[in-house]
C-alpha cells in the first residue's frame, strides 16, 4: 500500500473517531457545582448530576417508548412584561419538543420567583399524578444548564427517580426521532 493510501486511511479513521465521540466531546465538561447554575445557562454542562441518572438518546428513546416515565421539557420562554409600550411586537419563540412531553418553561433558572417555583411544583405533581416515585426525564437542549438545574430541583422536591437527558431535543432530532409543536403547560 502506498504512503498516500495510508495517510488517507489515517485521516478517515480520525474522522470516524471524531464522529463517534461527537463534536461535543471536544468542549470540556465542567465539574458539577454544589448549588444551582445562576448565569450563562447556554454553555457546556457537567457529565454528572448527584442523585440523578444521566441518560443519552438511546436510553431516552427506550423510556419514551416504554411510556411510564414523564418527560419534562424546561426550555425557557420569555413572558411578555406587563408594561411594554402598546404596539410592541411580541413573538415568543415556539417550541418543537418530544411528543407527549410536558412543557414547563422557565423552571430551570438558578433562582425562581415564588410564582415560578409554585408552577414547577404543581406542574410536576400533575404530570407525575402526585406519585413521587414516578420516573421523570428532564431535558431542554444541548449545552443548556436549565435542564440540569431543573433536574436538581426535582430531586430536592422529593422525586426519587430522576433522569437528566442533557442532549435534549438536539440529540433527539439528530437521531431522527419525531418532535411536535409544544404548548406551555398552564
Amino acid at each position: 500500500m502506498s504512503a498516500r493510501h495510508r495517510t488517507g486511511q489515517a485521516w478517515e479513521c480520525s474522522v470516524l473517531i471524531w464522529l463517534l465521540a461527537g463534536p461535543g466531546a471536544y468542549a470540556q465538561a465542567p465539574p458539577e457545582p454544589e448549588g444551582y447554575r445562576l448565569e450563562e445557562y447556554r454553555a457546556p454542562t457537567p457529565l454528572t448530576l448527584k442523585g440523578a441518572t444521566v441518560i443519552g438518546t438511546p436510553e431516552a428513546e427506550a423510556l419514551w417508548r416504554q411510556g411510564n416515565a414523564v418527560f419534562i421539557d424546561v426550555m425557557p420562554q420569555p413572558q411578555r412584561p406587563a408594561n411594554l409600550p402598546a404596539g410592541t411586537l411580541w413573538h415568543a419563540p415556539s417550541r418543537d419538543s418530544i411528543p407527549r412531553a410536558v412543557w414547563l418553561p422557565n423552571v430551570g433558572y438558578g433562582v425562581l420567583t415564588p410564582e415560578t417555583e409554585a408552577y414547577f411544583r404543581h406542574g410536576l405533581s400533575v404530570a407525575a399524578q402526585a406519585d413521587h416515585s414516578r420516573p421523570l426525564v428532564l431535558f431542554c437542549q444541548r449545552n443548556c444548564w436549565m435542564s440540569w438545574n431543573a433536574a436538581k430541583r426535582a430531586l430536592r422536591y422529593g422525586y426519587s427517580v430522576v433522569y437528566w437527558y442533557p442532549e435534549g431535543t438536539d440529540g433527539w432530532k439528530d437521531a431522527g426521532l419525531p418532535v411536535e409543536r409544544a404548548e406551555r403547560s398552564p
Binding site: V15, E39, Y41, P78, N83, L84, W90, V111, L112, T113
Partner: protein
C-alpha cells in the same frame, strides 16, 4: 462494494449528516422571520442588501447582554436613492424589533453602531428603507443566549443616581461621534435574584439627536437595546450645537445640549 469502500462511504455519509445539522437548524431559525416579517416590514419583498447595507456582528458573542452591532449604509454612486430608515431585528428575541433608526433627509453613506441584548441563537437582520420605498435586507447569525434576562451590570441605586446623564463625544479623525445615555434600560425579563421578582420593563424608547435644527438621526428602541444605550454614528460637525433628547417608557424626558465639537 469492498469493505474498505463501504467504510469510506459510511464515513462520508456520517460527515455529510454532521455538516447538514447546522444548516438544518439555521433553516429552522428562518421560520421566525417568516412569521414576523409582514408585521415588521409589510408585504414588500426586500432586495439583497449586499453592497448597500452591511451588518457587522460577532458570530459568537462574549456577553449576550452587550453584543456590538454595526450597520453600514453604502448606496452605490449610480443609485440616486438614499436610505431614510434602518430597522434592526433580532429574530429570536421575544420583542424582535430592536430599534428603528430614522435618517430624516436620507443618507448615501452612514454608519451606526450600538449594543444589543440577544436572548437565543439568532439571525440578526437589518432592513434599509430607501426614499422611494425600496427595501434592502442583510442578515448575519449570532450565537449568544440569555441576554434579555441577564442581570443588570449596575445596581439599581447607582443606575437611578446617574439616570439620564449623557455623553457626546466626537472622533473627528474617524468622522464619527458617540452618544451615550445613562439608563438601566430594563427589559422586563431580568430577575432581581435577591427579591426574586422581575424588574419591570423601563427603557429609552425614543432618542433624537439634532445639530442645530437638523435631525442627525432618531431612534425608536425596544427592550433589546443594552443598558446605558450607546450609539456611534457618522458625524461631521457644522459647528452648531448638538441637542440630544431621550424619552423613556415612563415618560421621563432627558435633554442636553453639547458643543458641536463634543465634550
Amino acid at each position: 462494494m469492498t469493505v474498505r469502500s463501504r467504510i469510506i462511504v459510511s464515513v462520508w455519509a456520517g460527515l455529510a449528516a454532521l455538516l447538514l445539522v447546522p444548516s438544518l437548524s439555521v433553516a429552522q431559525q428562518e421560520n421566525t422571520w417568516a412569521e414576523i416579517r409582514s408585521t415588521v416590514i409589510g408585504e414588500s419583498v426586500p432586495g439583497d442588501g449586499t453592497g448597500r447595507l452591511t451588518l457587522v456582528a460577532p458570530s459568537r458573542a462574549e456577553d449576550a447582554a452587550i453584543v456590538p452591532i454595526e450597520l453600514r449604509v453604502t448606496v452605490p454612486d449610480d443609485d440616486a436613492g438614499r436610505v431614510t430608515k434602518i430597522t434592526l431585528v433580532v429574530d429570536e428575541n421575544p420583542a424582535p424589533v430592536a430599534a428603528v433608526f430614522q435618517l430624516r433627509d436620507g443618507q448615501k453613506t452612514f454608519d451606526m453602531a450600538t449594543r444589543v441584548r440577544i436572548d437565543s441563537y439568532t439571525f440578526v437582520r437589518a432592513v434599509a428603507t430607501m426614499d422611494d420605498g425600496r427595501l434592502y435586507m442583510t442578515k448575519t447569525y449570532v450565537k449568544a443566549a440569555g441576554g434579555c434576562s441577564a442581570p443588570a451590570a449596575k445596581d439599581p441605586v447607582e443606575a437611578k443616581a446617574r439616570l439620564g446623564e449623557m455623553r457626546f463625544r466626537v472622533f473627528a479623525d474617524r468622522g464619527d461621534a458617540q452618544v451615550q445615555v445613562r439608563h438601566p434600560n430594563y427589559s422586563g425579563l431580568q430577575m432581581d435574584q435577591v427579591t426574586r421578582h422581575y424588574t419591570p420593563a423601563w427603557f429609552i424608547d425614543k432618542l433624537d439627536v439634532r445639530q442645530g435644527e437638523k435631525t442627525l438621526f432618531s431612534m425608536e428602541g425596544g427592550i433589546s437595546i443594552s443598558e446605558d444605550p450607546t450609539f456611534r454614528f457618522t458625524y461631521g460637525s457644522t459647528g452648531e450645537p448638538v441637542t440630544i433628547e431621550a424619552r423613556d417608557t415612563e415618560g421621563q424626558v432627558f435633554k442636553k445640549i453639547f458643543p458641536g465639537s463634543g465634550t
